[in-house]
Amino acid sequence: MAEGETESPGPKKRGPYISSVTSRSVNLMIRGVVLFFIGVFLALVLNLLQIQRNVTLFPPDVIASIFSSAWWVPPCCGTASAVIGLLYPCIDRHLGEPHKFKREWSSVMRCVAVFVGINHASAKVDFDNNIQLSLTLAALSIGLWWTFDRSRSGFGLGVGIAFLATLVTQLLVYNGVYQYTSPDFLYVRSWLPCIFFAGGITMGNIGRQLAMKEELSWLHLDHRVEANPGLT
């Protein structure tokens, strides 16, 4: 993310508010924070979905179940998503192939919705066996990438993230730090990489969109900032 500061084209010093917004590091920080909170939120919600899956009868304590998992899980997810979301535009810039495919907020929202849908499906749909589950999830994830990303770098990064995250999770599980409600490892294994892949793509999408917002704000400073004072 330090690389992001090396290259900073565009005009500067356009007034106190704009300069504060458009200053590179502050912008990076804002993006990171936004991504972090998105990640935390999604982690909580999806965790809830997963918990729900294993609930057979009435969950005794709903609110408690939200935070039933270890406290450090959502912050980890948030941090990871912030890293991913900042990494994607950065890699785009370094590869020199800016991402041009469907760069709109509506598309990003669609992507997020599909991601949640994938989670939802994995949590609530009954599959006959693991092969089916993993194949379906893999197909859905690839479909997500193809529909919303279609960049080689995105695919590669997604696969890398999925691999790393699965590895880390398995290590954690083996070390007993973290445990799934279901002891079935096979289930967890087949379920994890696809979700991680889709999550990586989604967070990358969000990060790219945020970065594009920033680039745009560099380009048309006044209009953009006046139109959307929030910018985040």
Binding site: F41, V45, L46, L48, L49, I51, Q52, R53, N54, V55, T56, L57, F58, P59, P60, V62, I63, S65, I66, E104, W105, S106, V108, M109, R110, V112, A113, V114, V116, G117, H120, A121, K124, V125, D126, F127, D128, N129, N130, Q132, L135, T136, A139, L140, G143, T147, S182, D184, L186, Y187
Partner: protein, 1137 residues
């Protein structure tokens, strides 16, 4: 009673609870054998239950009559076929594992293995088979390999169709009798009404709310992009309504076909919306609003739709493909989702086309109106964009020739008689009668009527029948009833008689249990429970069933499909596919034009093939024998016509006047250069002319004998000085053919040949070009001639030269040779005809006016020596454009006979011939009224006049507009980057010009502004014409392109044969004729369909059609080398009178 109680229960479930203990429990007992004995009791019990018959006053009643009859298992559950009952009572017991066969049970060495063989390896939330058959949750059954307890408990589950108290009572009594229980304290029974309702709970609400938030964000960000419309909110609402109603339609359609939704609608709804998406709607809006604002609304919509059609179709196909893949995951929930999505997508497509587009057009129209109100003052002075059109044109045509004795005009509607393709006729018929709309309306009315007037009772029963299968509707409270329960040794009946009206289709996530004190957290659903009696074995046994998976019963029912999802799914998918295919077909049928695809047109016709349109629809060639006019010696260069008469001029300088109706040659005006009367000399002059011809064929446009060379190959102005010292080409031959024995009609019946007036066909064929060539070959001067210039001649043998050439000008058919004044005139470069006067412009600058009928020279003017490159003859006004760029305006004045003709400037060159046959009563004088000395810097190449305006196009890249009456220059139009090669102007003041740069410009003559500019051709634009709606251009690239006149968008293009590029003519607003290699083709202008092809001359020595002239009676004159062909379009030929 709360509302949950409405609805008939799907089934009544009675469980007979069996508990057994292994009393001598040895550690070394094999776990397998421990369970053998308790389980074997199940078979006995099942038999007892099955055989139980209630005998009472109403007769005997067996289990078969009261139980819930089930039919087939679902196709996907074939492997469970042996385990779950089919076609009979739904009675479950552990015995089902062995098909209720005691022998099989005893023979089974591994009972537990059998029981567990269908257990999924993974975590399962839904009830497993073991749970179902045992009727108790797995861990309570005690049947497992590592059982610590000595208890084995299971139930026999009976599912009744309806509650039958007496039967149950008797069954219970019998069971109690058979298995007396030592500690049976009987309890009051109750019905427990279990209502499976949709999910509740914050845990489930949070993800749901999240998805909805995401959905709204998506909708917000999507609709925010709608721009440049009158009402953003309205359009956003319309977009959302489109998606929502397509989803509603999807649900409705699925329900109609019997598919009951089992998924939680509220849960999958956001995903459905996201999958269907608003993208198409937005793309459509964007593309429509980005079309030119000054167009009509329907044109804008059409353009927007057509430009996005491919991407929309592609998107839809992609989404359908993805969904299809999802369907083949064979996961029931995903399949159902996909089914909904497919139907939703298809209906969304329809709604986009039929609903959203309508809203969009209304919106655009509103905006247009608002804009119009704003800018009304400024726009009021401008003429409407749409040309006035047809009436003006026809008036003009009538007005031009008021003197023609009989005017034959086309009836516009008569073009309907042209053979349209059948599909178009069907479409036209449908569109005219609005048949489809009316049918749909009638159908809707009938349907609503049926709905309204059907017997309510019948409707209700119908609904009720549906309800019992599908949904919780309907019935009031269930009264608590005493329930008998079987009492078994070492077992206790489950006193709670449970009634489950599960809304199975909804796949409930949760089971809510009514008012149970031990479960205070559960919301009271209002089930009744009479006080639960004390049980010896403890209340947990009675409540054991409550610990069943909440999906226990739905799973059981879903095995026997109460929902028809799978069967219907394939049907729905197939229906979607069929719809898409239907749409594609409709698209192909209704939109034959290739909109806006430049270069899509070429290649549609390849040389040597039959011409056909895009769809391989090649109309058969017709039997029309064209009327062939023969009489010219060399290639015909100039053609002019006024509908009745036809004037042609060949390279040799002969002018022939033909009757356009019959094809008779009326007059023949020979070349005026016969100073040298020697025939041989003339032949050799002809030889020279050939020589020059061949030169010109090889590359020089400086061919004096050529008609205005600049018209087609405007590479540079021919040096005018060249013509001065050239030996004049005298008329080749003017043979005295009357002396020759004229043969009768040629042997071949077609084409009918009309010989030239003074020239009989000599034997099988006599051709002067042949003669000339023969001379050439004899002399060995020029071996090669361009073959395209050689007229076809089947004539054998060299005809004698001299004697036939001697004849000079034979006075025959009243054409006076004396009328012809020999002069040192150049070749004819331009020709115009009006009424009975022919105006001839020569390369020597001489302007001559001839009488077409008489063949006499009426007057001439030759004060300027610069060659006349173009002529306009309009209403007694002649405008001559000259090679040096000047314009001369003449006016024709008729005077009484014998008055001396005066010309301004030169001493009046009296051309009144001393011919005795000169019968016209008045003489014609040609007076030069104005001269614009330097209209253009370079030679004028194009000249057109209409609506009181004269337009000149020149090689100096400019156009000029003059007023016709006072020759005042109004505008100089600049915009081309090459020499102007073609100009068109019509009565509606629309001016089109084409240049050497391949561009076409449309101008407004009133304001002198350029309306549009299109790059049309690779190479020069060779000819240009317009109808009221389109511009037709042809270029050196042998393409004919048709452009929309108001928008400048290319509609389509027609590939022409080589060398026929410039040959086109417009017969009417929707009929185009083009020339090909030995044929002419008729096209429907509006659709680009080839209507007919007429082959001219069967003997396939086809020559390219180089010019096409459309006469008023729809005869088409084509220029085939040295001969003309008159083609009548048969069905078009209608006289108005």
């Amino acid at each position: 009673m709360t509302k949950q109680y409405v609805g008939a229960p799907v089934a009544y479930i009675q469980q007979i609870f069996v508990k057994s203990s292994v009393s001598p429990w040895h550690k070394n007992l094999l776990a397998v054998d421990v369970f053998r004995s308790p389980l074997s009791r199940a078979f006995q019990l099942v038999e007892e239950v099955r055989n139980h018959v209630l005998r009472d006053s109403s007769g005997t009643r067996g289990l078969e009559e009261v139980c819930l009859q089930v039919t087939d298992l679902l196709p996907g559950l074939r492997k469970l076929r042996n385990l779950l009952p089919e076609h009979g009572c739904l009675l479950l017991s552990p015995g089902n594992f062995w098909q209720n066969d005691r022998e099989r049970f005893h023979a089974d060495p591994d009972i537990i293995g059998t029981i567990h063989q269908h257990e999924p390896k993974t975590l399962q939330t839904s009830a497993t088979l073991k749970d179902l058959l045992f009727g108790v949750p797995g861990k309570y059954s005690g049947v497992s390999l590592y059982a610590r307890k000595r208890m084995v408990s299971y139930t026999i589950t009976l599912v009744f169709q309806r509650y039958h108290a007496k039967f149950l009572g008797s069954l219970r009594a019998r069971l109690m009798l058979l298995h007396p229980s030592p500690n049976c304290s009987l309890r009051a029974e109750s019905l427990v009404h279990v209502h499976f309702k949709e999910e509740i709970g914050i845990a489930e609400l949070i993800p749901l709310v999240t998805t909805y938030i995401i959905l709204f964000a998506y909708i917000y960000f999507s609709t925010r992009k709608i721009d440049m419309v009158k009402s953003k909110w309205g359009l956003a609402l319309a977009a959302v309504v489109t998606v929502l109603s397509s989803l509603l339609m999807s649900v409705g359609l699925c329900t109609l076909f019997g598919l009951t939704p089992t998924l939680n609608g509220g849960e999958i709804f956001p995903y459905l919306v996201v999958v269907i998406g608003l993208e198409n709607v937005l793309v459509l809006t964007k593309s429509v609003v980005s079309t030119p604002v000054d167009l009509e609304v329907k044109l804008r919509i059409a353009q927007g739709l057509s430009s996005e059609s491919w991407s929309i179709m592609k998107n839809m196909a992609t989404e359908l493909g993805i969904i299809l893949i999802g369907y083949f995951t064979l996961v029931p929930a995903i399949q159902e989702f996909c089914l909904f999505a497919v139907v939703g997508l298809v209906s969304d497509f329809f709604l986009q086309m039929l609903f959203f587009t309508t809203v969009l057009s209304i919106d655009i129209r509103r905006m247009e109106l608002a804009d119009l109100n704003k800018r009304l003052p400024s726009e009021a002075c401008l003429p409407p964009a749409k040309p006035v059109g047809r009436p003006a044109r026809f008036e003009r045509q009538l007005a031009v020739r008021p003197s023609t004795p009989h005017t034959i005009t086309l009836q516009p509607s008569s073009f309907r008689n042209l053979r349209l393709p059948k599909r178009l006729r069907v479409i036209y018929f449908l569109a005219r009668t609005r048949l489809a709309q009316r049918l749909i309306m009638a159908g809707t009315v009938v349907w609503i009527g049926i709905l309204v007037y059907t017997d309510p009772a019948g409707l209700r029963t119908y609904l009720a029948a549906q309800v019992t299968e599908q949904s919780p509707l309907g019935e009031g409270a269930l009264t608590p009833m005493p329930v008998p329960s079987g009492v078994l040794p070492a077992s206790h009946p489950d006193p709670a008689f449970s009634i489950f009206p599960p809304d199975a289709p909804k796949l409930p996530e949760n089971q809510t249990l009514p008012g149970e004190p031990p479960e205070p957290g559960s919301p009271a659903e209002g089930a009744h429970d009479s006080p639960v009696p004390e049980v010896t074995w403890g209340p947990e046994d009675e409540e054991l069933w409550r610990k069943l998976s909440f999906r226990h019963w739905p799973t059981l029912f879903s095995y026997y499909n109460i929902t028809l999802a799978k069967r219907v799914a394939a049907l729905g998918l197939a229906a979607g596919m069929v719809l898409v295919l239907l749409l594609l077909c409709l698209y192909r049928v209704l939109c034959p034009r290739n909109y806006g695809q430049p270069g899509g047109g070429p290649g549609r016709r390849r040389r040597g093939e039959l011409p056909c349109d895009d769809y391989g629809y090649a109309p058969p060639e017709t039997e029309i024998a064209p009327l062939v006019l023969r009489g010219h010696l060399m290639d015909i260069e100039c053609l002019a016509s006024d509908g009745m008469l036809l004037v042609s001029c060949c390279l040799a300088g002969h002018v022939c006047v033909w009757d356009a109706q019959t094809g008779d040659c009326l007059t023949r005006i020979p070349r005026p250069g016969q100073r040298r009367d020697s025939g041989v000399g003339s032949v050799f002059e002809a030889q020279e002319s050939w020589e020059r011809l061949s030169d010109s064929g090889k590359g020089g446009p400086e061919e004096p004998g050529d008609s205005p060379p600049l018209r087609h190959r405007p590479r540079g102005p021919p040096p005018p000085a060249l013509f001065g010292d050239q030996p004049d080409l005298t008329c080749l031959i003017d043979t005295n053919f009357s002396a020759q024995p004229r043969l009768s009609e040629p042997t071949q019946p077609e084409p009918r040949h009309r010989a030239g007036c003074s020239r009989a066909r000599d034997g099988p064929g006599y051709d002067f070009s042949r003669l000339v060539q023969r001379v050439y070959q004899d002399d060995g001067l020029v071996p090669g001639r361009p073959p395209a210039l050689r007229p076809s001649s089947p004539g054998p043998g060299p005809p004698p030269l001299a004697p036939e050439d001697e004849g000079g000008c034979p006075p025959e058919k009243g054409s006076p040779c004396l009328a012809w004044v020999p002069s040192a005139d150049g070749s004819i470069w331009s020709l115009e005809l009006q009424g009975s006067l022919i105006v001839v412009g020569r390369s020597s600058g001489r302007l001559e006016v001839w009488d077409a009928i008489e063949g006499t020279l009426r007057c001439s003017s030759e004060e300027v020596t610069s060659g006349i490159t173009a002529l306009v003859f309009l209403d007694k006004r002649i405008v001559a454009a000259r090679l040096n760029g000047s314009l001369d305006f003449f006016s024709l004045e008729t005077r009484t006979a014998l008055s001396p003709l005066q010309f301004r400037g030169t001493p009046g060159r009296s051309s009144s011939p001393a011919s005795p046959v000169y019968s016209s009563s008045d003489t014609v004088a040609c007076r030069l009224t104005h001269t614009v000395p330097c209209a253009h810097q370079k030679p004028i190449t194009a000249l057109k006049a209409a609506a009181g305006r004269l337009v000149t196009g020149s090689q100096d890249h400019t156009l000029r507009v003059f007023r016709l009456e006072d020759s005042c220059c109004l505008f100089t139009l600049q915009g081309h980057s090459g020499a102007i090669t073609a100009v068109y102007i019509d009565q509606t003041m629309v001016l089109a010009s084409g240049g050497q740069d391949g561009a076409i410009c449309l101008w407004d003559v009133l304001t002198g502004s350029r309306v549009s500019h299109m790059f049309a051709h690779r190479g020069d634009v060779t000819s240009l014409t317009c109808t009221t709606s389109c511009v037709i251009s042809s270029g050196l690239d042998d393409l004919i392109s048709i452009w929309d006149r108001s928008t400048g968008i290319k509609l389509y293009s027609i590939q022409q044969d080589l060398g026929c590029g410039a040959s086109l003519g417009v017969i009417s607003d929707n009929l185009l004729v083009t020339g090909g290699q030995g044929c002419v083709s008729f096209w429907d202008l509006n659709y680009g369909d080839l209507l007919q092809t007429v082959y001219l001359g069967k003997n396939s020595e086809a020559q390219p059609t180089r010019q096409i002239l459309v006469l008023d009676n729809a005869a088409i004159v084509c220029n085939f080398g040295s001969e003309l062909s008159l083609v009548y379009v048969p069905s078009v030929l209608e006289k108005l009178d």
